[in-house]
């Protein structure tokens, strides 16, 4: 049923630390690997070895530059389904294939009933839903619903594949609706935020902003130039290196 549940028992989601993410793509590849054999398998690629390789991925890692000069920063930005509390992608679905689970808030697509009309991908502002060309249905993050409750896995593996794979501990999984949970405390402590809140989709996933730079790092452009000056090669050193280059090039 594509009508939304009246609140959900839990609000399971991810908290992603943009301060520690290094953009290594481990979460993306781990996600692809698990989910091509998991709940919404297969997760196909087209032309994988040709000139135009593309396919369905449930987690994509962008890198952005924000700000200018010394105050600017590079931010690695993982983007996947935010499991919104009021997801339009669910309500626009004409077949009932898209649904939000009342028990934990996970947004899922039933691959047996999806007709592949793609309207849900139009309704999602976050680009979380991708069409699988070979399978003819929509694919999206399942929050690894086939891992987190899986009694066949050891306890430490009962988290989404992306969280398990992250080498820097930048990804956290838990109940964001419970103020006492570890993820909720992390969000409160670090000022975690949701994406495009003014649209009212109420995304559950939270992003932890990059920490402020330490005083030594946060240099103005002038300060940077002054500090950088001693590191620049002196004319004498420059002459030496040029001589060495000539000698070694013989």
């Amino acid at each position: 049923m594509t009508s939304l549940p009246q609140g959900t028992g839990k609000k399971l989601g991810l908290v992603i630390d943009l301060d520690t993410c290094v953009g290594c793509q481990a979460c993306a590849t781990s996600c692809k690997e698990w989910n091509t054999g998991g709940y919404s398998a297969p997760l196909t690629d087209q032309d994988p070895y040709g000139p135009d390789p593309h396919g369905a991925w449930l987690n994509r890692i962008h890198a952005y530059e924000a700000g200018e000069g010394a105050a600017g920063r590079t931010v690695h930005f993982p983007r996947s389904c935010l499991h919104c509390e009021e997801p339009d992608c669910v309500t626009v679905c004409p077949t009932g294939a898209s649904y939000k689970r009342a028990e934990d808030g996970i947004v899922l697509v039933n691959p047996e009933t999806c007709i592949g009309c793609k309207l849900c991908s139009w309704a999602c502002p976050y680009g979380a839903r991708e069409y699988d060309e070979a399978d003819g249905v929509m694919k999206k993050c399942t929050l690894c619903v086939d891992r987190i409750y899986n009694q066949n896995l050891s306890a430490e593996d009962r988290v989404p594949a992306c969280v398990r794979a992250c080498p820097t501990g930048a990804r956290h999984f838990g109940d964001i609706g419970d103020p006492a949970s570890g993820v909720s405390k992390l969000v409160a402590e670090r000022g975690g935020y949701g994406l495009l809140p003014e649209f009212g989709y109420k995304p559950v996933n939270r992003y932890l902003p990059p920490r402020p730079k330490s005083p030594g790092q946060a240099l103005s452009s002038a300060g940077q130039a002054a500090e950088a000056a001693p590191l620049a090669p002196s004319p004498t050193a420059d002459l030496f290196f040029r001589w060495a280059d000539r000698v070694l090039s013989r």
């Binding site: 049923m1 594509t2 009508s3 939304l4 943009l18 953009g23 993306a28 135009d52 390789p53 593309h54 396919g55 369905a56 991925w57 994509r60 890692i61 962008h62 890198a63 952005y64 530059e65 924000a66 700000g67 200018e68 105050a71 600017g72 590079t74 931010v75 930005f77 983007r79 339009d88 669910v90 309500t91 626009v92 679905c93 004409p94 077949t95 009932g96 009933t113 999806c114 007709i115 592949g116 009309c117 793609k118 309207l119 991908s121 139009w122 309704a123 999602c124 502002p125 976050y126 680009g127 991708e130 069409y131 060309e133 003819g136 249905v137 994406l195 495009l196 992003y207 902003p209 990059p210």
Partner: protein, 315 residues
């Protein structure tokens, strides 16, 4: 947004088909047109043909067309589902009205009631089509109060052009219908122009900084895309026609979709034998090309919010 040809054909054809159905039903029920058998057969046949072809073509872009029947289930929340349900419901009263007209050559009494019901259902179906687009908050150019009225007026307008050509072809031109057609062409053009004007007016736009929440550090620029080749989201949502071309195409859409049919419809008032039929059919042909272009632009000029994550500066 990527302009899928099946969806362009679907919205144009079914819009015109429902429009023709509405005018035939209303003119018959009001006693303005004699319910003659062959006129009914061709008229309702054309309307049903356009509607059915449109609906069929809309299933071509589905990943699983064989599951399309499932789309009738979620009318409580989904405009797409509501459109499907209304499209099917419309066939019942419309079929009855057509039977009355073709089999019994009557459009009065209960047959007339069926016709009125068919017109109302057809109007609701086109309304649902418009709402599918207008309800998407992710695409500011579609989430616009003029979008649904435009779908309704353009459907009624192309339907009136078809009905007018049909009555001329059967040698029973109706001056009132010609004036109605001209009126709808003027309203359609005015609405479309107003829509384009509101589109270019800069309302609240969003930046990559808003989308990522990183705007607090300054201007946000993409450094590395997630993958080497464009993905589904970029292919489906990233299509955007160049502004320079859009201006030219808009002029062409106005010329073909509104001005040429207007001139042709006016020409059909001339008493010169044969001109009425030729001119009203030409009006339909021009309008068909114009509407296809207008619908293509409706998609190609729509920018989805998700493009902000993939390098668009504003949306």
């Amino acid at each position: 947004m990527h302009p899928a040809y099946s969806v362009i054909f679907f919205t144009c054809a079914s819009g015109a088909g429902y429009g023709l159905l509405i005018w035939l039903a209303l003119l018959g029920a009001a006693g303005q047109v004699e319910p003659e058998r062959w006129l009914g057969a061709v008229g309702f046949g054309l309307a049903f043909g356009l509607i059915t072809l449109g609906l069929l073509s809309s299933t071509f872009h589905l990943g699983h067309p064989e599951r399309a029947w499932r789309a009738f289930s979620q009318w409580r929340s989904s405009w797409l589902s509501r459109e499907g349900v209304m499209a099917v419901i419309t066939y019942a009263p419309a079929g009855l009205a057509a039977i009355g007209w073709v089999a019994f050559e009557t459009s009065g009494g209960l047959w007339g009631l069926a016709a009125l019901l068919a017109a109302a259902c057809a109007l609701l179906t086109v309304y649902c089509t418009g709402m599918i687009y207008a309800s998407l908050r992710t695409i500011p150019q579609w989430h616009n109060p003029l979008v649904t009225p435009l779908y309704l007026v353009l459907g009624l307008m192309t339907g009136a052009l078809l009905a007018n050509a049909l009555l001329h072809a059967f040698g029973r031109p109706l001056a009132g219908l010609s004036w109605l057609t001209i009126g709808l062409l003027v309203i359609g053009l005015a609405l479309k122009t107003a829509y384009w004007r509101t589109m270019s007016r800069t309302g609240k736009t969003y930046s990559a900084g808003d989308a990522t929440g990183l705007g607090r550090y300054g201007k946000v620029r993409p450094l590395d895309p997630p993958h080497t080749q464009p993905n589904y989201v970029q292919r489906e949502m990233g299509f955007h026609v160049a502004r320079k071309h859009a201006q030219k195409l808009r002029k062409l859409a106005v010329l073909l979709g509104f001005l040429a049919p207007l001139i042709c419809t006016a020409l059909a008032f001339s008493p010169i034998p044969g001109l009425g039929v030729t001119a009203t059919i030409a009006a339909v042909v021009f309008a068909g090309a114009g509407m296809a272009l207008e619908r293509w632009l409706f998609f190609a000029q729509a920018q989805h919010l998700v493009t902000l994550y993939y390098g668009a500066e504003t949306a």
